[in-house]
Point group: D2
Chain length 126, copies 4
């Protein structure tokens, strides 16, 4: 278990456990199919995007600082993370391994020589 | 650092580090504002949802098993995780702390007595 | 112009005009780039999906009737439509022609003989 | 019926009819619940947003022109429109009336005097 509860100390499984405890205590797993969970993530990302939709380039400098202190944004990040942890629990996907594999694929797809500093325009990455 | 690279051993910071190394080597941070990252998460979740959109109740039993072996779904989960890790790096949000705080709020908002086994109908939770 | 203002009488251009009048009177076009508009549509669809995310098959029979009388759902549909009309105005896309062309492509891609009654599983249609 | 098939001549009902004919010929209505349709719109908007996610302010001037000639973007707009038309058919929402009512609400919520030229920051509009 973690000493201090922060990103440096908490494993993905640690975080997943407190989420699943919450869900199970309420007997909510019956409603939380992979389909429903993916839809919930879609809703929460919609909420997150709502913070940025009308900003333009003049605003961009301040945006990162504003986000840092914006509790609503932290809540939306938390929601997305919790739903993703539940999704991967139900579908038995190991997030750390999935990320590592995807980065290996991306290393080949986006060689540094070719893509450094470039706005990699694409519509569908994979 | 992790012994075995999996959810049991990898911390959120460990995972964030390999993502940020990838991005920085390619000098892509300039394109990755919080706004753009949130939009990218929206796109990736769209990809994830596409796997489930026409399924109906007859399919639901098999869905979790199917997801487990579906490489595309694992890729989309990885994409969402990587973008979220970058978003929280740029906005200096600690995911573990954000999730813990959100669960504390939800403990109060959804007391077990009242919400156990209930399909909590709501349009916007927070 | 339409006699009665409803779907039977109102053309896409009629509807687009009242939306653009609203936007222009407020001098909001400067914030409404194609990027921002697509992001706003993403947010609004997130709102729409939130109504359905935890429903399961037992609920499906009643859902269509419930939607009919749900003002919030009508508002979200309106928001999505208005943003789409603005997006197509800015990008000079004719919606009627775009839909006709896409259906022609889909006629060939999904021949009736082969696809009738089938849950056409796919991740990306086009 | 429309003389020329374009936004100036085609009513919302005209467009809805050709979409519903396509769906019914394939006996697909059984899969197209309001929930599934909202999820499909979410997926398609994800596709649309993917075109813009890494663009920054230097690109914005060209974006509207690029969109105009981009067939993929026209296809995604068509998909969103078709799904929205089906959603409103199933839920018996009249789009023209819904938009008119929403604009009436917005006229009051965003008086011209107060909101002209202002980037109306908000997370949840309604």
């Amino acid at each position: 278990m973690a000493n201090k509860w922060d990103d440096k100390n908490v494993t993905i499984s640690d975080l997943q456990k407190i989420v699943m405890d919450f869900v199970r205590k309420r007997d909510w797993e019956q409603f939380h199919s992979p389909k429903n969970l993916s839809m919930a993530i879609g809703s929460e990302v919609g909420e997150l995007m709502a913070h940025f939709r009308w900003t333009n380039s003049k605003d961009e400098e301040n945006t990162a600082k504003e986000c840092k202190n914006n509790l609503e944004i932290a809540h939306e990040v938390a929601d997305i993370m919790m739903l993703l942890l539940e999704f991967t629990k139900v579908t038995e996907i190991d997030i750390a391994q999935a990320v590592k594999r995807k980065l290996e694929i991306n290393e080949i797809r986006y060689p540094v020589d070719e893509f450094k500093g470039k706005n990699h325009k694409y519509t569908k990455k994979q």
